[in-house]
């Protein structure tokens, strides 16, 4: 199975890499002593490393091709973890366990940990929102963070000017998010794929630039400080208590989001979104109003970003435009893609992994982006469906064998 051919290929790859990285990895000009250092041993490491990686890569590719062949024969392709989740005897205790962990989390762990978890949960909610747009309706939206910003600024400004409380602004934030979703939706109705991605990206940047430059409205780059935390029936809470409170607000909001998104997915509208993703022409020809379907996807996706933004502003008590860069959009998109487009559990896992891992891998923080990129590339090649591929609902009929899709 490991022929001379393979070894030769890997060898060539490693030579090529040694050559490519030579200037940055081997040569160093020591400016203090004004000498050139030659670090040959590094070249050796790179050669070995590339050789091994290229070998593993080719091995995995071959396995993948064999996997595809197996599927063509008609093998059930659902991975083990997913089949386990479908089994009630496994899934119910798992849900119970997660529920208990979620309940005791802020009491067991430190305030710092609780705050990290709050941020992660905000990302779960907004990633589930983006999942409607990207995962279900198939509209690549790279400006999604704009709705998050809109929600955050809605709370900050409404509170600053009119003293509106968190609980009043939460639904308003959702509504404003939806409104902006529609405002973005209209001009991009005719666009698809890359064009859509570019225009939405522009939209996201426009919102950020407005927030940055319109000083009278948004206080510019210095942002807004002293945003009040959520109130608890007017009772004064300590900082720790408030954090726990926000944590439970986020748990509630997450459950609410999962509930709503799950219902939407298996409804008339949800099916229309998926049909739109699968084939826009056929979708219209089957009697689905493309305009309406796209706009509802944009609106209902942006709603969650709006709400997430309100909680974000309330949690950090300070916001400025720097929190809402294009980079943030990309991270949210990564949550959806990594987890599994269209799959609710997948997106939740994706968001948790992407927000939590970097927190616990602080030592590697300089390589974070590199790692991100590598993981995404590997995922795209070997599991284009994400960690959890989406499963469609099956229906049972009397006197029929129940086959699963």
């Amino acid at each position: 199975m490991f022929s001379i051919e393979e070894v030769k290929k890997s060898f060539l790859v490693s030579i090529w890499f040694m050559f490519l990285t030579f200037p940055i990895m081997v040569i160093r000009v020591n400016t203090i002593y004004k000498i050139v250092e030659w670090r040959w041993e590094r070249m050796f490491y790179i050669g070995i490393g590339t050789f091994v990686i290229s070998f593993i890569w080719r091995y995995l590719m071959r396995r993948k091709e064999m996997g595809v062949k197996k599927k063509e024969v008609g093998e059930d392709a659902l991975p083990l973890a997913q089949r386990l989740l479908q089994n009630r005897r496994v899934s119910y205790p798992a849900i119970a366990l997660v529920a208990v962990l979620a309940l005791i989390y802020p009491f067991v762990f430190s305030l710092y940990q609780a705050n990290i978890m709050i941020t992660a949960l905000i990302y779960v909610v907004i990633a589930l929102g983006l999942n409607i747009v990207v995962g279900l309706a198939g509209l690549l939206d790279l400006g999604y963070v704009a709705f998050y910003a809109v929600g955050a600024y809605a709370y900050a400004l409404l509170n600053y000017h009119f003293g509106l409380s968190f609980w009043v602004v939460l639904p308003i934030g959702a509504a404003i998010g939806a409104l902006f979703g529609i405002i973005l939706g209209f001009p991009v109705l005719r666009l698809r794929g890359d064009y859509l991605a570019i225009v939405t990206l522009g939209f996201g940047e426009i919102i950020r630039l407005i927030l940055e430059n319109w000083n009278e409205f948004s206080f510019g780059p210095s942002g807004i400080a002293n945003i009040p935390r959520p109130s608890f029936f007017g009772i004064d809470l300590s900082l720790a208590e408030t954090t726990r409170f926000v944590y439970f607000i986020m748990i509630g909001l997450t459950i609410f989001t999962i509930f709503v998104v799950n219902r939407l997915e298996n409804s008339r509208i949800g099916r229309a979104w998926i049909a739109l993703r699968e084939d826009e022409v056929a979708c219209q020809a089957m009697g689905i109003d493309k305009t309406k379907t796209k706009l509802t996807a944009f609106a209902l996706g942006a709603t969650w970003a709006g709400m997430g933004g309100v909680v974000f502003a309330a949690q950090t008590t300070f916001i400025n435009p720097a929190s809402f860069t294009i980079w943030e959009s990309v991270i949210i998109l990564c949550c959806v893609v990594l987890g599994g487009m269209g799959s609710i559990i997948g997106v939740i896992l994706g968001a948790l992994v992407i927000k939590l891992l970097p927190e616990y891998l602080r030592e590697f923080s300089q390589y974070r982006m590199l790692l991100f990129g590598a993981i995404l590339v590997i995922m795209m090649v070997f599991r284009p469906g994400g960690i959890i591929t989406s499963v469609r609902r099956t229906y049972q009929f009397k006197g029929k064998s129940n086959r699963h899709a």
Binding site: R268, E278, A282, C283, M286, I288, L300, R392
Partner: protein, 267 residues
């Protein structure tokens, strides 16, 4: 020739120009209630373009397209209607190059067809009130009945992409039927099918006409199927209508023979 009802589709002087190419040149065509009408012609004659025009995917350069649904007592102009509204009026189509929703189940594909006959909105989806649950249940059942009729019930929970080719073609028909049409436009439904599958398709089309009372406009290259099933045939070549008539008339039409010479030996 059996006696057919009123005219349900009337196309007058339909032209479609792409840049310098006249893909359709003043085509007239009509379909009457209960009829099976075939539209034939060599490759690139403009048949699919004709379908795209009446289903609202293309805006024709000139010409009129009128329907008079048997259930209603008025004429409706199709010009300028969006595709989904055309479908809502009762025209449904299939595609020459299969366009199923690949990552949805067979049943869901059919349920999408019923979309325009449903009414649940966002609130209905979230609160799942009694009316929505009832509608959903009903659509599931209706869709299953359609699958049984078309002979696809065994695949109900399979992904559309995993179906054998012939079954995918039939699923296209099932999906179109779900929109509750009075006329069904089939674009080369037998393409890529073997002899046995084509014969089954012949029976299926006959059944749809007889049992469901749906008229059919059919594009097809398989002359055996066309001759056996059609009541009337329209022949187009280079965007122009060159003949129209019963299968017998078409078989002996000199213009048709000329257009097809060397292309079809079994015509």
């Amino acid at each position: 020739m059996p006696d057919f009802g009123k005219q349900i589709l009337a196309v007058n002087g339909l032209s479609m120009v792409f840049g310098g190419l006249r893909a359709l040149d003043r085509i007239d065509l009509d379909v009457r209630q209960g009829e099976v009408v075939a539209l034939i012609g060599p490759n690139g004659a403009g048949k699919t373009t004709f379908f795209n025009c009446i289903t609202g995917l293309y805006a024709p350069t000139e010409g009129d397209m009128l329907i008079s649904p048997p259930r209603k007592d008025k004429n409706i102009r199709l010009n300028g209607l969006k595709p989904n509204l055309v479908t809502e009026q009762g025209l449904a189509r299939t595609f020459q190059n299969i366009r199923l929703f690949q990552n949805m189940t067979v049943l869901e594909n059919v349920m999408i067809g019923r979309h325009c006959r449903m009414s649940a909105g966002i609130a209905g989806a979230i609160f799942r009130n009694r009316a929505t649950r009832h509608e959903e249940q009903q659509v599931v059942e209706e869709s299953y009945v359609i699958l049984q009729k078309i002979g696809l019930a065994q695949y109900v929970n399979d992904f559309a992409k995993n179906l054998p080719y012939g079954a995918q073609r039939r699923l296209e028909i099932a999906r179109a039927m779900a929109t509750d049409p009075f006329i069904l436009l089939l674009d080369e439904p037998a393409a890529g099918m073997n002899t046995r599958e084509t014969e089954e398709l012949d029976d299926l089309i006959e059944k749809i006409r007889e049992m469901e009372g749906i008229s059919i406009l059919l594009i097809e290259h398989d002359m055996k199927l066309v001759m056996s099933i059609s009541d009337r045939i329209f022949v187009v070549d280079y965007g122009k209508k060159i003949a129209e008539g019963t299968p017998e008339e078409i078989k002996s039409d000199p213009a048709v023979i000329k257009a097809y010479l060397g292309e079809e030996s079994d015509a």
